[in-house]
């Protein structure tokens, strides 16, 4: 260590902050350098003198006040917040409560609101009795077809017990007749005011929840009506087998579903009512409901396969076999998950001569 290095470390040496090996080097330098030793001794002497400066004592009264405060605080019951585990658990519990509330609110907000359901078939019967008679002649009892169309667990979940006991028919009396391939849609069109054509037929007056849901789909409904039916197209009776409705939903699709439901809460209702109409053999109503649902569902929405499948079955029920074939084709194209099912149906229809 030279003089410059020693000077740089005088303060640390004076106050005992040098590492042992540095202190040793300093001592060695001071032993052989009188100048540095004298400089350091002067500084050390100043320290010694400064140490003689008196330390004023705080007044006893002030000390007593502080002790009294400390005692008072120590005797006070400890706040829960002073425990570490409370600091950890409190935010977690808060998050759970908030999350639960949000989830509960969302669930309430998304749940389909009860809306009085007026089967369109009844209105059709009231307004177009002659056409009903025509339908009776051309269709098999719809109740059986409806029952076949839906898998048992799904039906059980969607129907009230009383209705399950009664069978699929929603109205008392004879089974509601099913409309003919194109007649049903035409009769619905004629029997209802222009608004009803856009779907208001399915909701009771003054049911606002469904109103917003039915304002858009007129265009698609009309395009579907343009699908030409194939009268007497080989399949004498619309065969709707018991294949389950496509409901395979991946987590990503579920997210999409939720998004869709937020955009329009009536889609689940439309699908549910469409399936009820299928069960009841009201294929015309079912077709309209599924068409409206499709109008509301954007491409790629996980509920679209369900709606397409329902529409295809309704078209089969209405003897619109070419339309059904096209819808199954659309289903196969849109949903790889349900392609096999759709292709099976397409094969079946093609085998019956439908093009």
């Amino acid at each position: 260590m030279n003089c410059q290095g020693a000077e740089n470390l005088f303060i640390e040496y004076l106050y005992g902050e040098l590492e042992p090996h540095q202190a040793e080097s300093m001592r060695a330098h001071l032993d052989r350098c009188g100048t540095c030793a004298a400089r350091l001794a002067e500084l050390a002497r100043v320290r010694e003198l400064a140490a003689t400066a008196p330390d004023p004592e705080p007044p006893r009264l002030t000390i007593n006040r502080v002790i009294a405060r400390a005692r008072e605080e120590a005797e006070r019951p400890r706040s829960l917040w002073t425990f570490k585990w409370v600091k950890v658990l409190a935010p977690v519990c808060l998050a759970m409560v908030v999350g639960g509330l949000v989830a509960y609110q969302l669930r309430i907000g998304l749940a389909p609101k009860p809306v009085a359901y007026t089967p369109a078939g009844e209105e059709q019967r009231q307004s177009a009795p002659t056409q009903d008679a025509e339908k009776k002649e051309t269709h098999a009892p719809a109740g059986n077809m409806g029952k076949e169309a839906l898998p048992a667990p799904s039906r059980a979940a969607k129907e009230p017990p009383s209705q399950r006991e009664k069978g699929a028919a929603p109205a008392p009396g004879p089974s509601p007749p099913s409309p003919g391939p194109s007649v049903a849609r035409e009769s619905a069109k004629q029997a209802l005011p222009p608004d009803a054509e856009r779907g208001k037929v399915m909701q009771a007056p003054g049911a606002p929840a469904a109103e917003s849901a039915v304002s858009a789909p007129a265009a698609l409904l009309s395009t579907r009506k343009e699908v030409p039916a194939l009268p007497g197209a080989g399949v004498g009776k619309a065969k709707v087998d018991a294949a389950p409705l496509p409901q395979t939903v991946s987590p990503a699709e579920k997210a999409l579903t939720d998004g869709g439901n937020k955009r329009d809460g009536s889609v689940p209702k439309l699908l549910s009512e469409g399936e009820q109409a299928l069960e009841a053999g009201s294929f015309g109503d079912a077709g309209q409901l599924f068409s409206r649902a499709l109008d509301l569902l954007p491409p790629g929405h996980p509920d679209r396969p369900r709606a397409l499948f329902g529409l295809a079955r309704a078209q089969e029920g209405q003897r619109d076999l070419a339309g059904a074939l096209r819808t199954y084709r659309e289903l196969a194209k849109e949903s790889p998950t349900h392609r096999e099912l759709a292709e099976g149906k397409m094969k079946e229809l093609s085998g019956a001569g439908v093009k």
Partner: protein, 203 residues
């Protein structure tokens, strides 16, 4: 105090503070006995007036009491205490509009402050009358020298002399680099020596 709490007396500051945080009031009394004088000395020298130091001293320990549950033993208690003390003292100076630290060593009205007399009496406590006179003169020269220190040097000097904190901790508390704190301390010692020499005392 140590006689009252022999078991606690052997504990470190940090352990004592942790115990007080858990409700053991005696631990706080030990801490107070250890630090009341060094802290009060620093505050008195920093603020220049014992009456201001009293208020701030009380505030500092009240803050320690309030903050006990937030204290983490990995931080040195002394550094925490003197940091609070320094900050409260700075607040007090700002509140009073004092731009430069006043000096206990050069009170505006000596009769207002008892500190100077005490200093003289303590240093002059030698039974030999000749030594007593010499001691009184030296004490006076020392106080003059201490009063002549620039505020920044005085702050670092008294923190180092009374708190037992390292240069790094002092640098942290005063918000300067360690080299700056070291330089200020070195200049303070040099200046004290020069002032004493001017007054005829050769350290």
């Amino acid at each position: 105090m140590s006689e009252r709490f022999p078991r606690l007396h052997t504990l470190s500051d940090e352990e004592l503070m942790s115990r007080y945080a858990r409700g053991e009031e005696a631990a706080f009394e030990i801490l107070l006995s250890r630090y009341s004088r060094p802290l009060f000395t620093f505050l008195s020298r920093y603020l220049g007036r014992p009456d201001r130091a009293e208020d701030v001293f009380q505030e500092v320990f009240y803050e320690v009491i309030r903050g006990r549950s937030g204290y983490r033993p990995r931080h040195r208690f002394a550094a925490w205490l003197f940091r609070i003390g320094r900050n409260r003292a700075v607040d007090r100076l700002r509140r009073n509009g004092v731009r430069k630290m006043e000096s206990l060593d050069h009170p505006s009205n000596p009769r207002e402050h008892e500190g100077e007399n005490r200093v003289t009496n303590v240093v002059a406590g030698d039974p030999d009358p000749e030594n007593e006179v010499q001691g009184r003169e030296l004490s006076k020269a020392l106080e003059t020298a201490l009063a002549s220190l620039p505020a920044e040097q005085r702050e670092v000097f008294w923190l180092k002399e009374r708190s037992g904190l390292s240069l790094g901790e002092i640098a942290d508390i005063t918000g300067v680099s360690q080299n700056t704190a070291k330089s200020r301390l070195r200049y303070a010692l040099e200046k004290l020596r020069a002032t004493l020499v001017q007054q005829g005392f050769e350290p």
